[in-house]
């Protein structure tokens, strides 16, 4: 067996969704202002500024396009058409001609939440708090440095005029959250924050009215600014965690072509598809609901169901699950179940259930807050009561109590986790690993089990030609030419493998389930299943893999195989030696699964797994108290990824899989899993240290505050200092050298016969 070591570009793998029908494209155009039509196109492989320019220039030249704007950040293109009825297809074709994958984007998928948004957004709050903090601080610095008498009173007044509206506006995220939990009869971190800010403000106002010396508008506003910053960072970490359900929903076609009683074809929306209807599904389309084939032969990509990208032949009578991709031939199908009961809908339900169960994970910070908030409140109340009892002066008592609240304000606690996670995210980013959610890091640090999908995860998924017949140049040219006629992955692998220039093919026909036939240099030739090729070959012996033959000439065969992902061997052995047992799940057949398991030294390997069974394995692990890491790429892994304690997917994974996973690694090697785990552990360590620092700080500061030795001003200062300490500690994460990418994996990808 020849070992293939050249690095292949994983990006050439066709998008799992396949092409989009014209009808679906048209349906994505929305009317916009001025009578124009607008359609949003998702173009995932926009990668740099040059793409932006190229795409916009190409689109603007398309008929019916008024304007086009590519968004490099979101990897979307927004196309304005002359009116809402214009066909956007030329745009899609232009994009395809440039080599970009384009899919219509339902605006409701991407911009859902603005309507249900509560209150002003955090960035505005930060801007307002920052503006207020700057100006109030300015006046406070003046007062502290000695501005006196009228000047001081004036400055206090101006501070109040700035601080009150600023707190009212920028404090909303905390007030709302505090209100919500208080209504529920509970406490969280936001309650002491809201209380401290409001009390500081109230007391300052009363001091101001009495012409007092000390006001703490500065403390209130600065505190708010700090906390908002922490919260914002936290949100930055989470905002990529979009629901995988919508990602999966995007896969299902928006409608289907139905065959009417008169034999005409009509596009109908998905929800109108009913049981018993006859649908026509073209090559390249996705099956919208569960169906049975009535007429036609084809090859199917059932990766959504099995995870295997290798196509399966299908003929009349075969039942197809929704989401299956029809690859090579048009088919007539009968609808078996309505949309709501289809396989895809079932998967979405499963996924949403899995996501919900994961969201019960309580983040470290929240766990800390649960304990912290009541303690702080009790302390503040006790301090107030104690001082009132001793001095009888409510103002002094309030003063001290506020100091306690401010000094214990969980600034450091609020920053401890997000800052460490932001720094860690930056480091992971540099190692080519994207993290979607801060809590994922916490979860990754806790795993004691690892579950790997086979195809596309442990192996590279796409078939590769491992050996090729030793024929004449003419035969190879003809093979390549025929291979280029098909979208079948095997054909594409063959086309990619052969360096020859393809020659002309006449009368090319793709016979679904068998292969491609055509005339090359006037000779009939076939490329496809060995048995089918043998029908025209001179020596009808059956080869195993795909074969090629000129009519009457001997058949020549290819060997196809899948290969192990670089670093797979080391990653698996490292994991097992560090006490994390590895399980392999695959939808593939027993023989191949066993072979891979043996190569990698994995003891527990399951074959023939459906998505539901994969979820079942993970749920079983969870029920037994294990915390499992799931690494997978296929559509069929999506629900399992969501069900696992934490999950990772390669960037080549299906959209839905990437969305469901907590981490996406951009590099080829599987060693990313180890790197991520290292960073996660380091982060967990830093977070613990941060908590330690914050607690140590509180242990020193709280007694002082309770004793009344700390003015609110010093409290605010101490609070800032503790925050900076925490930030500094977190930045250490950055300083550590990132784990060197595994250099030793150059054993080369191991080829496994397909």
């Amino acid at each position: 067996m020849r070992v293939i070591s050249e690095k292949h570009d994983r990006k050439v793998r066709p998008a799992p969704s396949g092409p989009v029908t014209r009808a679906e494209r048209s349906a994505s155009v929305r009317p916009a202002a001025n009578g124009h039509g607008v359609c949003l196109i998702s173009v995932p492989n926009i990668s740099c500024g040059a793409c932006v320019a190229r795409i916009e220039r190409a689109l603007i030249d398309c008929p019916g396009v008024v304007a086009a704007r590519a968004n490099l950040t979101l990897r979307q293109v927004r196309v304005t058409l002359t009116d809402a009825n214009t066909d956007p297809s030329p745009g899609y074709e232009a994009l395809a001609a440039l080599g970009y994958t384009a899919r219509p984007l339902d605006p409701s998928d991407t911009e859902p939440a603005s309507a249900q948004q509560d209150g002003p957004d955090l960035l505005r709050c930060i801007a307002v708090a920052g503006f207020g903090a700057m100006n109030v601080m300015l006046l406070s610095v003046a007062v502290w440095s000695g501005a006196e008498a009228t000047t001081r009173d004036t400055f206090h007044l101006i501070s109040a005029l700035i601080a009150v509206p600023v707190v009212a506006y920028a404090g909303q995220p905390f007030f709302r959250s505090a209100l919500v939990v208080l209504r529920g009869g509970r406490l969280n971190m936001d309650v002491p924050i809201a209380l401290a800010v409001l009390l500081a403000l109230a007391l300052s106002l009363s001091e101001l009215l009495q012409g007092g010396d000390h006001v703490f508008f500065d403390a209130a506003v600065t505190l708010l600014f700090f906390l908002l910053t922490g919260r914002y960072l936290d949100q930055l970490m989470r905002d990529r965690a979009r629901s995988a359900v919508t990602g999966l929903a995007r896969l299902s076609p928006k409608g289907a072509m139905a065959r009417g009683p008169d034999g005409s074809l009509e596009w109908i929306a998905l929800h109108a598809v009913a049981k018993g209807m006859i649908l026509h599904i073209d090559a390249g389309e996705r099956v919208p609901v569960d169906v049975r084939i009535l007429h036609g032969d084809t090859d199917l990509d059932r990766s959504l169901v099995t995870g295997e990208a290798m196509p399966v032949a299908a003929s009349p009578g075969t039942e197809l699950e929704a989401g299956t991709l029809n690859l090579t031939g048009g088919i007539e199908v009968e609808v078996l179940r309505p949309v709501a009961e289809s396989f895809l809908a079932e998967m979405m339900r499963m996924l949403s259930a899995a996501e919900t169960s994961r969201s019960t994970y309580v983040r470290i910070a929240d766990r800390a807050a649960r304990l912290y908030a009541p303690v702080v409140h009790l302390l503040a109340v006790a301090t107030f009561a104690g001082w009132l009892l001793v001095t009888g002066d409510w103002q002094v008592s309030a003063f001290v109590a506020i100091s306690v609240l401010i000094i214990t304000c969980p600034c450091a606690l609020g920053l401890a986790v997000p800052v460490a996670q932001v720094v860690a995210a930056g480091r992971l980013m540099r190692s080519g690993i994207l993290m979607k959610d801060g809590s994922a890091l916490e979860r990754l640090a806790q795993i004691d089990r690892a579950v790997f999908d086979k195809t596309g995860t442990l192996t590279t998924g796409t078939p590769m030609v491992t050996s090729c017949f030793e024929g004449e140049a003419e035969q190879r040219e003809a093979s390549k030419a025929l291979a280029m006629q098909s979208r079948h992955p095997a054909a594409q692998a063959i086309a990619a493998h052969l360096p020859e220039v393809a020659c002309e093919v006449a009368d090319a026909v793709e016979v679904p389930g068998f292969g491609v036939e055509g005339r090359v240099h006037g000779r009939r030739a076939r490329l496809g299943r060995a048995r089918w090729v043998a029908e025209i070959a001179a020596d009808p012996q059956a080869a195993t893999g795909p074969a090629f033959a000129f009519e009457g000439a001997p058949a020549l065969s290819f060997d196809l195989s899948e290969t192990l992902r670089p670093g797979a061997v080391d990653t698996i052995s490292d994991m097992q030696s560090s006490g994390i047992p590895v399980t392999m799940l695959s939808g593939d057949d027993a023989a191949r699964v066993a072979q891979v398991a043996e190569t990698l030294g994995i003891a527990e390997a399951h074959h023939g797994m459906t998505p539901a069974r994969k979820v079942g394995v993970l749920e079983d692990l969870r029920d037994r108290g294990h915390r499992a890491l799931m690494v997978g790429d296929g559509l069929n892994d999506t629900a399992a990824l969501a069900a696992a304690h934490v999950s990772m997917a390669p960037s080549t994974a299906a959209d839905a899989g990437r969305t469901a996973a907590d981490f996406v690694f951009l590099r080829d090697g599987l060693d990313a899993v180890a790197t991520a785990q290292d960073v996660a552990r380091a982060t967990a360590r830093v977070v613990r240290q941060n908590f330690g620092l914050a607690i140590a700080y509180n242990c020193i500061a709280i007694p002082l505050a309770v004793a009344g030795l700390v003015t609110p001003l010093i409290a605010a200062l101490a609070m800032s200092a503790s925050s900076i300490l925490v930030i500094g500690n977190s930045l250490r994460l950055n300083g550590k050298r990132a784990a060197a990418p595994l250099q030793s994996v150059e054993r080369g990808p191991v080829a496994i016969p397909a």
Binding site: L138, V141, A142, S145, A147, R430
Partner: protein, 550 residues
Amino acid sequence: MMSNLTRAERANAMVIAGTGAFIGLVMAAAGRGDPMGAHGWIVLAFCGALFFVVGSAYEDPEPTQDRTASYYDDPTKVGILIALFWAVVGMGMGVWVASQLAWPDLRFDAAWSSFGRIRPVHTSGVIFGFGGNALIATSFHIMQRTCRARMPDQVTPWFVLLGFNLFCIVASSGYLMGVTQSKEYAEPEWYADLWLVVVWVVYFVLYIRTLARRNEPHIYVANWYYLAFILVVAVLHIVNNLAVPASLTGAKSYSAFAGVQDAMTQWWYGHNAVAFFLTSGFLGMLYYFLPKRAERPIYSYRLSILSFWGITFFYIWAGSHHLHYTALPHWVQTLGMTFSVMLLVPSWASAGNALMTLNGAWHKVRDDATLRFMMVAAVFYGLSTFEGSFMAIRPVNGLSHYTDWTVGHVHAGAMGWVALISFGSIYALAPVLWRRETIYSWKAVEWHFWLALAGTVIYVFAMWNSGITQGLMWRTYTESGTLAYSFTDTLVAMHPYYVARTFGGLLFLIGACIGAWNVVMTIRRMPSETPERDYPTSSESREPALPAAE
């Protein structure tokens, strides 16, 4: 140039120039026997000349080509040439004033040539003449390019550019006649100030109008910096120059503020002028031309926006650090110090952002002197902002203030940052603007670069030395507890540094002359072509940008 104006625009221009000439005449008549009268003649001559230039071309055929299909670059071209002219004049004056300190008799024993009168000609010449024109010219270029739109009309940019230069001419000729308010960097008298307000408001409106016409939804960050420059400078200028003229027929006026109030206002203005004239606008230049020249997007666009808001919020109160240990209330001094130190954050964010942009393009910096100008400018920006924050700390300021250290600091910023980024931008811009294949002589650019760098380094080191030496000598005591040195002793000690400073300045001036020559030769001698791009490589072959986190 006239041929690009429509007949209506020519008529408008003539009306404006005619009105200006009339105002000049009135000033000349009213201000007889006063420097204001002389200024009237200058205004009359300037506007009259414009009137006749436009008038003589009035009957020429109207422009035929579709004007909306191109950017309006004529004012930019003229602005660049004027900026280079002022660079030579202003820096020449600088060398002269510097040499007067080393050799005090190096003047013609005339009233106009004394140090006190020609020093503001130098400062205004380089800051407003060179810097201001470079800012106006590049802003016209950048706002049109980043908005993908032509300026709304063709007379307003000329009004802004020529009006501003009229201000510069009136200001610097005034100094020679002794017309000054004695407010540093705000020396011009009341009528010049009023005129500048008019010009500046028109400038702001022009900018906003162009932005409103933009064909590109996003407003590039450079525009934010330019807008802050225009807007804040207007406010500062108006507040600081509030004054009552002694009479409407004379140049003399008295500031509305006195003593400590005036000092506060003056340095509130003075430091913000540094922030928004000498920093904000030039950062706009940096954020456009540096990525453009390096053919790499700015390292972190988000950071550039963040540091913009930082600079806007932090700078405002930094000015009072110019008044440490003075009769200014102590808390105001502390305020200034605090904010000056905080300023380091957004300043370094910008400098770091610029340098990180070059990460991965260092080979270009090595080969391309134009890009090197910008790179060194960013380095000096970082150095001088650090130095500035450092010098704002009270005890440090106690030593540095009133000495040449301040002068060295200012020149590190003015020569190392402002002038270098301007020259870099001009070299990047000239071939694009005049549609020339390339700059006339790359060798000359190299020469200019090394002369400028050597000049700056010599200058700054000389001033550091002299400043710190003098500051220390002033406070040196003998064992018996008396001051060790007389003032004259310290002055004598300065002499070698003053000679060195003159030499450094001379190198810088020679560089500027070479630069001006090179640009003129580029226009006159280089084959006129429409190059597809001025930049040496195509953006397709760019190496992938590093992730910003790196």
